[in-house]
Amino acid sequence: MDTVLFTFYGYELHVSYLVGAVLYVVLAPFAGGLIAGIDRKVTARMQGRVGPPILQPFYDVAKLFGKEKITVNNAQDFYVMCTLIFMVISGVFFFSGSNLLMMIFTLTAASIFLVLAGYSSNSPYAQIGAERELLQMMAYEPMVLLSAVGFYMACGSFNVGDIVMSDAFSFKYLIGMFIGYLFIITIKLRKSPFDLSMSHHAHQELVKGLTTEFSGRTLGILEISHWYENVFLLGFIFLFFARGSLPYTILGVAVVIVCYFVEILIDNGYARMKWQFTIKSAWIVTLIFGGGNLFVLYYLQPILAR
């Protein structure tokens, strides 16, 4: 039933992968927008407020697309568009079961285009935001790469499809990676205490950081690319639990929901930290949990298995 369309250097394109990719491109914005809406609602409830309607992020983006087009230069719009395109591509790599490393590199490309967009405006606030975005990338990038390596060690493949279908229960081998990934996903989801580059709550400090000079349509496109991004960041959490069977799928989805709730809790419980803290803490966590886990997989497991 799951026919292989073609094989390319060990990567088999299944029909189901193709369906996954198409579903991602079509449905991720809706899922991402809904997640953002639920996020805002839950946040409001945690603060004892009623909060906006669940569909508020969609209203926001619809409004942004109706605003007058003001742009400081055309390069900026181009870069933001590239961010969206590369974000979608990395999601497609992920949901079509292809290479995890490819996904990570396209994801990095998307972030780099965002930084370029910030720099291109020449506004001091956007530049500070862009610098901070770069620092954030430096903070989370090692851990993302390490977890890809971890998946290879645990399942014997970089291909998401193989990892999902593999017999190994990745989480068992990658508990350290999982903790590390949870730590850096706080940076990726732009949550406090690591919302350095474009926080809604940092008016006095950097206006709106990286996005200061974006308005209307451009900001709307960026918002949509965040939705795409969040969906596959959460998909990555799911990957730790995926094993190609229903109970594990349910477990995975449950863990994703719990993790996101914890992220919202952390977001509301912490003030914004300095960038020095972000880098230091992220690298220390990467070293201890990511590196430690890798050490165990590489040296101890063969000994124990003997």
Partner: protein, 207 residues
């Protein structure tokens, strides 16, 4: 039509404190607290004019903040609405006769909704913003026809003359025509809020 509805569902505000006594500012911020929670209406307090739809000004204009008020106004993308909060922002209020006070916000930028009160209550402020939403929807429709709010220039009017924006003050002389549009054509609604009608096609300004 879809976007016309959406702008009223997602008004992002920017708040600027002119020469207010901070009374009105506290009330504006009170709107954001759990007690009043304006995010219910999708309202977000942005610190960035380029993201904002509604400009909340408290306090009156003085010599020093004229360029700031204009800058913020000009940087906001259309459609946009200005809401003057408190009697200071409406007419100068108790500071009206101070040597440095020029008057209400409408001396320098077009104001759409006036929320009187000293200080304006959070309920009145929310009411004013909601009034502004109606104007915002009208302006969105006007924008579709190519009518946008003007970019305000460096010049502004005093009670007794005009400042040309380059450091020259031109005193009002006998026989000067006062431009009719400078007078706020307003109607009082049942809540005592003065609502200026949206721009008509005759008032269209080329930029």
């Amino acid at each position: 039509m879809k976007t016309m509805a959406s702008i009223t569902k997602s008004p992002w505000i920017i708040h600027y404190d002119g020469s207010s006594c901070n009374g009105c500012d506290i009330e504006v911020l009170a709107c954001l607290t759990p007690m009043y929670d304006v995010e219910r209406f999708g309202i977000i307090n942005t610190g960035n004019p380029k993201h904002a739809d509604i400009f909340l000004v408290t306090g009156s204009v003085n010599e020093q903040n004229i360029p700031v008020v204009k800058q913020i106004y000009n940087q906001m993308p259309n459609p946009k609405v200005v809401v003057a909060i408190g009697i200071c922002a409406t007419s100068g209020g108790i500071f009206r006769d101070c040597y440095n006070i020029i008057g209400g916000i409408d001396k320098v930028i077009p104001v759409d909704v006036y929320v009187p009160g000293c200080a304006a209550r959070p309920e009145a402020i929310i009411d004013g913003v909601v009034k502004g939403l109606g104007v915002l929807a009208e302006k969105q429709a006007a924008l579709a026809k190519g009518i946008a709010d003007p970019t305000v220039s460096g010049a502004y009017r005093y009670e007794n003359g005009t400042y040309d924006g380059d450091g020259t003050f031109l005193p009002e002389e006998e026989g000067d025509t006062v431009i009719a549009a400078a007078e706020p054509q307003s109607t009082d609604d049942e809540n005592g809020l003065r609502v200026k009608p949206a721009m008509t096609e005759e008032q269209e300004v080329d930029d």
